[in-house]
Symmetry: C2
Subunit: 324 residues, 2 copies
């Protein structure tokens, strides 16, 4: 059994290769078995502590167990990140554990590459201006992943509720050779951007659909509970709506409320990454079309990423037999 | 995150301390949450491949995820053990993974100490003769654990379907300073033993209850599916029947068939380790009484053992708040 630490994860999960691997994987299908098991513990101070196990098994190929904790009081109590995780990758021919992998690094690379695949399939190839909403842990990865998918982007804006964090992210990106600037007026920035990626913990929509530029692509990452929501109803009605996986619509506040109020229906969700990568649904239809993809994740994506990581680690080309 | 390898596990999980820790833990109760998730993949050559996740969470104290695979063709195809596993121990105050632990070593120590606790509570304190049925991976641990619980044992017999393996186990035990001898006639050995521990993959009972000596204690380890069974109906009717946990009776072939045929009823199961350790039910009532405990395991026991291991690893005395 090997330990694969964060540095090695970042080395192995190059954005270009990972986005291509995700595209290849979505041309096939899901691992044969995948599921989730969630435990919650109430917290007197607010949101509950959560422990999630996401297993996936592709026979003869790999078994992945992703273990995640989300302890909302960590920052205040221990100055530690809310989310911690490890991935355990098991050889599915022998049942022997091959590697225990730093989960945080995988999650950053995985989530941002999932979004970038959406952009590669849906945004305008000539996109030049990107707006990053939110300056949390994921934000620098989302910027890098989107720049990999759309290398024509010349102008990166960052907006964050606490402006100082937007400026700090711009500095961090400068260190990576990426020119970005913090902006103060979200609405103005929204009206200028070709690609908007939003990764916040918002429960009240702050991204206004009526301001979107014709041809814009919106990437929604934040909402992973029914209570969370980043984009308002106008985004849903103006954009052609996509998801990474159909199941996302059953879990995210981005859809649950709007479905209930009849703003859009599940039939208005045009497709997911499987349907797009398999050519079963059309992506962008015109230069003026506004597109949106809600990134919801799922154990199948964790599986693909872990398999790509293990293949790279062993110097093998990426391959998966997932097809169900 | 630390890796705790097999050598270190064996060092930390001393039988005496572990049996005492299990007794202490059973005076309290279960971890607040515990469960299991089982995946199966059919195998053209026979028994299915299995992947099991057993999580347990005691708030503020620990989260354990035990991951186990059972791949029945491993021996023939790869000369590898059928069962492979790892334990992931997470700090339940922070959600951060503290250790990834070699599972095979833990399982050997845990299962044998669970059985030995049953013997400590149920067998005659003056037991002198032990019979080990089966010479698989667990057998040397069961012998050592039973000898720890009952140091008066002077005579260890080993019976195995393939006699050569019994002889090899006797040699192995000699290397550990334990005198044991392989025996050829199971029935004769059964009639002589004060303590009988059986750990086989039998589907047809081979331990005959009518041969049991008055005062004997029977420890059944093998059957963990409805199809498996080690002891015949006479063992159930002659012995006072105990289990490590009540849920064991719903899973093991040691009970399912006999319950269905009315040989005994669930009410005939006198108690489990919680009831025994908490003094809610009486153990052995007389020197002549025959007792039996079916060892079925469960994620709560994995949790106790992992907590004991972590406490020892950090030089702390064992403690757990489990009480539900």
């Amino acid at each position: 059994m090997e330990m694969i630490d964060a540095n090695r994860v970042h080395e192995l999960l190059d954005f270009k290769g990972l986005i291509e691997a995700l595209e290849t994987a979505h041309q096939g299908g899901m691992p044969k078995q995948s599921d989730r098991l969630i435990y919650q513990e109430p917290n007197p101070q607010g949101q509950p502590d959560i422990f999630i196990m996401l297993p996936a098994w592709q026979p003869q190929e790999g078994i992945l167990a992703k273990l995640v904790t989300s302890f909302p009081n960590n920052k205040a109590r221990h100055n530690l990140p809310t989310v911690n995780s490890v991935y355990v990758f098991i050889n599915a021919d022998t049942g022997v554990t091959e590697a225990v992998i730093d989960g945080e690094a995988v999650i950053f690379r995985k989530t941002s590459s999932d979004s970038a695949l959406g952009s590669k399939l849906l945004s305008r190839p000539d996109a030049e201006t990107m707006l990053m909403i939110g300056a949390g842990g994921l934000a620098p990865y989302l910027v890098q992943a989107h720049l990999t998918a759309r290398p024509g982007i010349k102008n990166v804006m960052i907006w964050n509720r606490t402006g100082a964090n937007a400026a700090a992210l711009a500095d961090k990106l400068a260190g990576l050779g990426i020119t970005a600037r913090a902006v103060e007026d979200l609405d103005v920035a929204v009206s200028q951007a070709d690609i908007i990626s939003s990764a916040t913990m918002a429960q009240t929509p702050q991204l206004k659909g009526k301001l979107l530029k014709p041809g814009a692509h919106v990437d929604l990452v934040g909402s992973f509970t029914p209570e969370m929501r980043e984009a308002d109803d106008d985004v849903l009605t103006r954009a052609s709506v996509f998801v990474d996986h159909r199941q996302t619509t059953t879990r995210s506040g981005e859809f649950l409320g709007p479905f209930e109020r009849g703003v859009i229906t599940p039939d208005d969700v045009r497709g997911d990454l499987f349907e797009l990568c398999q050519g079963k649904v059309e992506g962008r239809r015109s230069a003026e079309e506004i597109t949106m993809m809600k990134n919801g994740g799922g154990s199948h994506i964790d599986y693909y990423v872990a398999k790509y990581l293990m293949d790279r680690h062993h110097g093998r080309p990426f391959a998966t037999s997932c097809s169900s």
